[in-house]
Symmetry: C2
Subunit: 439 residues, 2 copies
């Protein structure tokens, strides 16, 4: 039987994990792919740096043409990351006749249309299981296993770095900066973790899932997003007192006006599956009209979990399943089924957690409540602790609202933040009160 | 484009759910299958009984030959359930050239080899996503998405009826009989729930998963199994006191001696994902050597969740993905990869929860502890409450052991149950202390 030759472009952490699996588990992978699989070539500009896996001699090269010019290489794995040169490389790979497997959510979120059009023209496929949720098979679940369903909502923890930091803050009552430092020390956060902690990474992944599930072609930059860099350890304490954890939730939900999309730190009730997701784990809760609720949980990043998804895509591509899936899904094409457009974010309803820093003087609560009332926002509960939490005559006041519209809430807070009795910007978070128990 | 005609054999609860999806969501399903899909025929011996879904005129028939004789029907869904006539029907369907989709775990666990050999000879496929875990895509996860991994263990709640009953007992402190009655009243348990509550249903599903993940061809009847009919509400109370829930766990785990397999009520530590699975839900925790832990959770039974999995298989079969998967997996064939054989159950290690009913007299604990010690079973903790729980001079004594071998435990209990101070058979359950947190 003809050997299926595979190339990897980008020999970083994930790349060396994929290489390790393809080399060390070659027999297993060949058996499951139905014919011999061989790692023919690994391309990286740096061929001298030491990695934690040593390639067979002659496999590592700086020269991309060793892939594009070799007609025997059937599958090329793009693990360069980022936009350029990754975009140019993927286009070259496709045009030279390679089927592509990628873990690059930024590239897909930004240039999906161009890359998928190119693949269609070249008669080749792109597989993307590793781009969202690392080792969790969420792309296969939505794109294949739940194909009988209209997906109604996706609520997910898609950024392991943020979840690790929030877990540190919650469990060790550690402040944000110290938790980020701990995440960096343990390798869960990069030196510059901006894309992780400001919600951009989660928004890119959400844009891909929303496209897959709802046909929506969303510009990820237009997804309203708030990162965890706005979360104070005090909020985690108040949330706990109210019976909630704080998670960076990415939400895509069909509503009458279209698709509600946002990424934001969200209070999730203790005991619900998403609230119990700790450390660097990811989780995705999908609701479909036939299946009801499906909850998937696992490692959303890291070398071997991501490599597991990449190699599954390599096997699928060699078996021919990817070609079928690629055509059936028609991602980023005009043919894509009835695309749902994003609704007006201001019309998204929700409950909110608010933390005000206000003067400890009579009448302040009445003033705040008055503004909220004028915007038709009603109060569900209030916490104000005794003066041991008071600093320089300023106290924290926490309010949980009943359901209100995003737009009304924004306007009310703009007004409140201009009041003389209010110090610092008011902290605002969504509350997820959806029936999320396992019952 | 040629219409893909589909038949359903068996028009019960699941059958009418599948028919409903195929008829009401015909446009959606056709789009996802890449060409028009039509429910051509539904076969059932009873064509007069009222169902909650009314078929288009002329579709319902008593006559199986309307399927086997119609060359235009490409896919036949077997939802007859049980062994016969389901076995004969599936063989006829395959021989007449139909690809089969089935939700029948009993049939697969019992006659998988014969059916799959028949399908291979006929050049047709069998799809089985709905046979295990209802709407949870566990077959696709193990058979496809985790194909880069050696699966190391599967720990699962596979019987929703049992889980519902245990949840009732735990949350409402209701006894076993009352909880079964409640499950029957709500439609979660059949009039005769024996196969569900005695662990047989879970053992059949475990046999299928173990075959898929480990290549093991296990006779499900040889899987050691204990049902929830042995669990007393007192055990749930003691477990809670110790920080555990009791779940009917089905376990398949690679050990040096082969494959450890069993189904039994098991103490699972509070806060671990499996402990939080409530009501009629199922969940599967898979550990793979690359991906680490993946946890899947959803409705494991019921009309529409099961129909969701069946229709996904129908779509996959029409798209041609099932044919590839069917060949790649080579289930129930001699070619199946290095089959693992079941190890000696007596050599399976584990921690145990023991509840003795003993005379409330001096020296009893010493006597029990002596027997355990002679079998090298060491005690981790003991609970004995004050005499308010004493009835007729008999008290409950609960012991949690450190790790011990199944065989040694069995022998020790045989000896203990012969002691004069011991009343009733000792209750024994496994304790799952595997690191199961989300961290």
């Amino acid at each position: 039987m003809k050997t299926a030759k595979v190339a990897i472009v980008g020999f970083g952490t994930i790349g060396s994990g994929v290489a390790r699996l393809l080399v060390e588990q070659r027999e297993r992978i060949s058996r499951r792919a139905g014919r011999p699989v061989e790692l023919a070539c690994v391309v990286d500009p740096d061929i001298n740096r030491c990695r934690n896996f040593t390639l067979p001699k002659g496999v590592l090269t700086r020269d991309l043409s060793r892939v594009t010019q070799d007609p025997e290489i059937e599958v090329a794995v793009e693990l360069v990351g980022g936009l350029e040169p990754a975009r140019t490389i993927v286009l070259e790979l496709l045009r030279s006749g390679k089927n592509v497997v990628t873990a690059n959510k930024a590239l897909l979120a930004e240039h999906g249309r161009e890359l998928f059009d190119c693949a269609r023209q070249a008669g080749r496929s792109i597989a993307l299981e590793a781009a969202v949720g690392g080792g969790i098979p969420v792309i296969a679940a939505i794109g294949q296993s739940l194909s009988a369903n209209q997906i109604e909502s996706i609520r997910a923890i898609l950024n392991g770095t943020s979840n690790f930091i929030l877990t540190q803050m919650e469990e060790h009552d550690r402040d944000y900066a110290a938790s980020v430092a701990e995440a960096q020390r343990l390798g869960y956060a990069e030196a510059n973790p901006a894309m992780d902690v400001n919600g951009s990474d989660a928004a890119q992944k959400l844009a891909i899932l929303a496209h897959l599930a709802f046909g929506a072609q969303v510009n990820w930059k237009k997804i309203p997003r708030i990162g965890i860099d706005t979360v104070d350890v005090a909020d985690l304490r108040y949330a706990k007192e109210l019976g909630y954890s704080i998670k960076l939730l990415a939400v895509a939900r069909l509503v009458p006006e279209g698709l509600e999309l946002h990424v934001s730190p969200t209070l999730v009730r203790h005991g619900s599956p998403l609230a119990e997701v700790r450390g660097a784990y990811n989780a995705i809760r999908i609701i479909g009209d036939a299946v009801g609720q499906v909850f998937l949980h696992g490692l959303g990043a890291g070398q071997m979990p991501t490599a597991s998804a990449v190699v599954a895509d390599v096997i699928d591509t060699i078996l021919g399943r990817t070609a079928i899936t690629f055509e059936a899904l028609g991602l980023w094409s005009g043919d894509r089924e009835a695309p749902v457009t994003a609704g007006d974010p201001d019309m998204a309803p929700g409950r909110f957690y608010l933390r005000f820093n206000v003067d400890d003087t009579p009448g302040v609560l009445a003033e705040l409540a008055g503004v909220l009332g004028r915007h038709k926002i009603s109060i569900a509960s209030v916490i104000q602790h005794e003066s041991d939490e008071e600093v320089d005559g300023v106290v924290s006041l926490v309010i949980m609202t009943h359901s209100a519209l995003e737009g009304a809430m924004r306007q009310a807070l703009e007004e409140i933040d201009r009041l003389a009795c209010v110090h610092e910007m008011t902290v605002r978070m969504r509350v997820s009160d959806l029936q999320e128990s396992h019952r």
